[in-house]
């Protein structure tokens, strides 16, 4: 199955800008479906970014993060071609990860 993670990591100067978009329903557990039943909470709790074995960013998310979540940050100390490892885990224990090269 194609990965749920889309990432763009571009190096300009010594700073790498990272944008990630993840395919996930991010159900908060407060919403009802058309038949009135509560849709149970199903959301990504933790998303981590590692480069050259070092954590460069760690996201702790709650039920208020939008569907198909997006995050953008930047970090220093990487060079073109380095590998960025992105992985997430949700409240049901599901997870996915992707490794992408810095452009």
């Amino acid at each position: 199955m194609a990965s749920t993670i889309r990432v763009r990591a571009t190096l300009n100067g010594d700073t790498t800008e990272v944008q990630a978009l993840i395919q996930h329903p991010m159900d908060s557990g407060f919403v009802k479906d058309s038949k009135g039943a509560i849709i149970p909470a199903h959301f990504i709790q933790q998303l981590t970014f590692e480069c050259n074995g070092k954590s460069v960013f760690l996201c702790d998310w709650g039920t208020a993060v939008s569907k198909d979540p997006y995050v953008k940050f930047s970090f220093k100390g990487a060079s073109k071609g380095d590998e960025l490892k992105i992985s997430w885990v949700d409240n049901k224990g599901a997870s996915d990860s992707l490794t992408s090269k810095i452009q």
Partner: protein, 164 residues
């Protein structure tokens, strides 16, 4: 003993310090660079903080101390959200040695929306898209040098749809 200086709340930091010293003594010969990955492994999802209803309790649970407003924290959020399901919010700061940035939506069912850990070498800014139940104050808290600085803005959210 190098302080890993991960931006956790006081209680969690003491726990971590303890763990770090044990790790160093016990596994002295481990190559140094795997250490941070190990340290990162116990960045547990702050379940209690996310469970808190109101903002004050959430901040207490996450950081264990109060924040002071500061104009060095720049919170960018729309005046009127085009749709409460997707509200683009970003935070940046000129404070230095920032270790964590968190976002709170006061009137959401649970105030804490998202919390980001900023390791050394990562710029202290983040952009994301949050859900807001209704018009509410949005507060960004930045932990820098162990102290908390905050900025707050009101974002208006209205019932979507135009008729029906």
């Amino acid at each position: 003993m190098t302080s890993t200086n991960h931006g956790f709340s006081a209680t969690r930091r003491t726990v971590l310090k303890g763990a770090a010293t044990v790790a160093l003594i016990g596994l002295g010969n481990l190559p140094f660079d795997t250490m941070p990955a190990l340290a990162a492994a116990n960045d547990k999802w702050p379940e209690d903080a996310f469970k808190q209803k109101n903002e004050a309790d959430a901040i207490k649970s996450l950081y264990g101390k109060a924040a002071e407003a500061s104009d060095k924290v720049k919170l960018d959020a729309p005046e009127i959200a085009e749709n409460g399901a997707v509200v683009p919010i970003s935070v940046t700061t000129t404070l230095d040695n920032v270790t964590s940035i968190s976002l709170f939506v006061a009137d959401n069912p649970n105030a804490l929306a998202a919390s980001y850990q900023i390791p050394p070498g990562t710029l202290p800014s983040v952009a994301n898209r949050l859900k807001m139940a209704k018009t509410s104050n949005v507060t960004a808290i930045v932990e820098a040098g162990g102290k908390l600085y905050s900025a707050t803005r009101e974002v208006k959210v209205t019932v979507g749809g135009c008729g029906g």
